[in-house]
Amino acid sequence: MMQKDSLSIRRLLLPGLLLFVMAVAEAQPVKKPKPNKPKYGFLDTQFWLGVKFGTNFANPMAQSQLSGFSPIDYPSDRLTKTYDSYALPGGQAGIEMTFYHRGFSVGLHPMYQRSRYRYTNSLEWNGEQESERFATIYESEQRVDVINVPIFVKYDLIQNGKLRPFVLGGGFYSFLVGAERQVKITQTDYSFGAPQTIDGGTLNLGVKDAFQNYYGWVAGGGASFDYWNIRTVIEITYNQSLNSVTREGTSQNELSSLGDQNDDVHLSHIVGSVSFVFPLRFIDKQFQAL
């Protein structure tokens, strides 16, 4: 049911965006430049193309807690994972393609993005003797690599001058490229008399089959700076997936062998980016940096 609802939202969201973009684009009839064009009028309608990169911090939001263990004699909430929010930096890099018209922009910014998040869970076994005790902690760092394709609609709050603050909103679709998990195991053994902490090793697991494409919404703001022939854009956005980044019902051997199972995880990110973009239309000898 969850997947059907999400699919319906997505099917409404993307065609809606398409219609909006087409309406904005169609609102600009092709006109011949007026002879007495203002000095910077060519910037009223413009294509911008450039590079974009930055960092992100992910927040995993578990919609349900799942485990590969099924306890026989203790409550299952002892298996609950503890997630860290916005703890590990990720990164992204790609290109920015933006169409601007009189304060509004529509941007397509395909990026290669790596997200990282972390969770911890533990198990413990006890016998009748004090020495019959053993504990293990699993610290898992998850990396998810995607081609993230967002569509932004941006509005410049100030449309003239070298500094142009803006707000933006839109949607994105992320195509899964890869997923890796690093599991660090720390064990505490009480059978030696005093508790001994033992490094249980670190496992690097390819877990792509346990993840899937995801999509969601994005909102944020920033500012453009025009110097020389380059526009520099600094942007901070928040995005959130509307479906789970993990695949339900899969049993990936590498995970299940450790008793691990993906929760139904929605990801949100705080993303900071810098872009360097160039105008593509109407470039001639008259173009000067603002």
Binding site: S70, D73, M97, W125, G249, T250, L258
Partner: protein
Amino acid sequence: MKKLYYLIALLVLLGCKKDDEVPVTSFTRIYDHSNYNVDYRPLDVEEGTDSYVILATTTLDRTQFPGIQLVQVDKEGEFESSYEFSENTIAPTSDLMKIDTFFYFFAMDPVSLQASLVSFTPGFGNITATLLNGLLYPLAGSLTSDNQFLLLSYNPDDKLSVVSKVDRTGSVGSSAAYTIGPGSDVEEAIINHYTQPDDKSLPFFCGEVSGSLVYFNGFFNYSMSLVFSNFSGDPAGVVQGQFTDAGVRSVLPINGSTFAISGYQFDDNYIYPSVTLSTGGLSSSVDLYTSNAAEWRPHTPVVLKNYTLNEVEYIIYAAETKSRQIALYMYEKNSGNFAGLTYIGYANPFSLSSLTVDEENHLVVLGTTYVARRFRRIFVEKISETDMEKRVLKTED
């Protein structure tokens, strides 16, 4: 402008691509117990009503023979309940059988060493244990085509391997007893089979070729031999082993005298997805050996199971590898050709107990894993029909 339209239209089309079809039925569950000293050893799994029932052994305080534990989990693999038998019923054979809503297995009385037929219903109700007079040391059981049971047992007084047909009430019908021949006693090996199952476990099993012809793998002529019997005085045919060092480990009848088998030759294992055995004469398992299945560990249990996928019949060979994984080999039943392979287990060691195919054609694999490399716990892996196609046959989405 057109290019922008194309780009956005492409994105919308990609965005509207149907989500990956994900099966919701596959799972792996490890049944953990917080007790430092608990040690489960599962034997077999059968499908119940909205559940799977697991037959397992446990350790007992007052005897080296194993006790009996039943575990019930739901169709998603979550633990539901368990039942531990008293020390009056011990040493179950590795075969949990189901007729209608009743489950059955053979066990042993610890004092008289008599075999008993134990039955129960889902939720562990109506538990009864019926002693089978005159049949001692139960070693293996199986279901017959007429909803009765075959029991392989051993008579230590007369040194006989005994195969018997038993009905649901515990009445013994047809029975045949075959001397293990002259030579030293095999009782010690049989007792070790019960008390030390992890050390070179002996492959006792029995089954039905057709209504009139049955087979068992047990001691005959002082060797672990595959014996064909029609319940007459002499065996119909024998595939002679070599004491406990060589013989047949598992058998699955295909058609007539054609079988899928696995065998062992000291530390080597071999596979025949399709081989003709002499069901009416004497032959030697040593002659079957050609090459070693090098991936399998010495003395691995090997479980054979029929499986149908996309109207093609396969035989699954499940065995333990030297790297302590479980390997599932798939062969086409008609041709005997290799069709696919997948593994269960990573990092922690995994061992194999049994396979079953449920009513929805999902494969259910039962075994143990060592959590934190030291605590032996039962695991169940259910591989959906869809995942069987992807994982084993390696078909694309």
